[in-house]
């Protein structure tokens, strides 16, 4: 092994890891995209029956971990009680 090569060339594995993480986050989001948008619409409709919410303030996200997929739903509900539907 050439000792100079060892110092001159950057390790490539960390870059591979980083590129994969970015790419797969994208690809996973794209493949669960349809489901997420359907869920988002339906969840929004259910909540809107009881509370007035801004459609822009509803975030639905799908994440995969070891034993399950995690569906994260983040809904901002306005504090002002006057805005709440009857």
């Amino acid at each position: 092994m050439n000792i100079f090569r060892l110092f001159n060339k950057q390790r490539s594995a960390p870059l591979a890891r980083e590129r994969l993480q970015v790419l797969l986050a994208h690809e996973r989001a794209a493949s669960s995209c349809d489901l997420v948008s359907i869920l988002r619409e339906e969840i929004l409709a259910v909540i809107a029956k009881h509370v007035q919410v801004d459609a822009e303030r509803v975030h639905v996200k799908m994440d995969r971990s070891e034993n399950m997929s995690i569906l994260e739903i983040d809904v901002e509900i306005p504090l002002d009680p006057a805005l709440q539907a009857a």
């Binding site: 092994m1 060892l6 390790r11 490539s12 594995a13 960390p14 591979a16 890891r17 590129r19 994969l20 993480q21 790419l23 797969l24 690809e27 996973r28 493949s31 995969r64 971990s65 070891e66 034993n67 399950m68 997929s69």
Partner: protein, 271 residues
């Protein structure tokens, strides 16, 4: 009822067939009844790796089309009494595999064998989805390399959506088998590390199989590596993986760097 395992990867040439044969023989050496099924119709290879290529008379497609009975197509291993092979067809193409036919064959095999291990073809098309369709457990074979990891991620997505288990809303059990791992290269930072791949794919680890000449030697001889040289490093790693598949709790042993005296001195200086 036996357990159905699919050995799958997306990417080609990562070690599915090698792993199917090695795990099958390892489980059979525990006296469990095992059948390995070649789903790679048109490009069969499991018969060669198992050393049974000259004994193939009937195959999976013959059975599905009713030209042969299932027991006629099964080939018993010459070394292990409890190990059988159901070969794929070399001449037909994969359109001859019907979903109903595959379902019938798998259900029959489950009645007689403890383990039905399906060697998937590469890709994410029909052949691969048929091979995974009836699985209880998936072994995702991955090399520590970007395109293999990406394809494994695609396959994990399919396992969670296109299998019977997934459609029934059950959880598909998935295990990562990291193959062709070169500890020295990973140590130098030129190859993805075990932790990297695990973190990215986030499925539990079944085993780490080192890159080894012993695998090539075994395939030249026509024997699963766990039979050809049971004490070689890849064989030991496959035995460990087989024990985990069978439900034993075995700590993962990390492959050792193989270094000459020169390498040892050098790495001590570098550290």
């Amino acid at each position: 009822m036996g357990k159905v395992i699919v050995v799958t990867s997306g990417k080609g040439g990562v070690g599915k067939t090698t792993s199917t044969a090695a795990l099958g023989a390892a489980l059979a050496q525990r006296n469990e009844k095992v059948v390995v099924v070649d789903f790679d119709v048109g490009l069969r290879n499991l018969d060669l790796v198992m050393g049974a290529e000259r004994r193939v008379v009937y195959d999976l497609v013959n059975v599905i089309q009713g030209d042969a009975k299932l027991p006629q197509a099964l080939i018993r291993d010459k070394r292990l009494e409890t190990l059988f092979l159901l070969p794929a067809s070399q001449t037909r193409d994969k359109d001859n595999l019907t979903p109903e036919g595959v379902e019938w064959v798998i259900n029959e095999l489950k009645r007689y064998f403890d383990w039905v291990i399906c060697d998937s073809p590469a890709g994410i098309e029909r052949g691969a989805t048929l091979a995974m369709r009836h699985a209880d457990v998936a072994v995702v074979v991955t090399n520590p390399e970007v395109s293999s990891v990406r394809d494994s991620d695609r396959i994990i997505g399919l396992l969670d959506s296109k299998t019977l288990k997934a459609e029934r809303g059950e959880r598909m059990e998935k295990h990562l088998l990291l193959t062709r791992y070169d500890a020295a290269r990973a140590q130098r930072g030129d190859m993805l590390k075990v932790e990297d791949v695990l973190e990215i794919l986030s499925i539990p680890l079944l085993g780490i199989i080192p890159e080894s000449m012993d695998v090539l030697r075994a395939s030249n001889l026509g024997a699963p590596v766990t039979l050809a040289d049971a004490r070689s490093a890849p064989a030991l790693a496959y035995f460990e993986a087989a024990r985990r598949l069978a439900g034993e709790i075995v700590p993962i042993s990390m492959p050792e760097e193989k270094r000459g005296i020169f390498g040892k001195i050098f790495s001590r200086r570098a550290a």
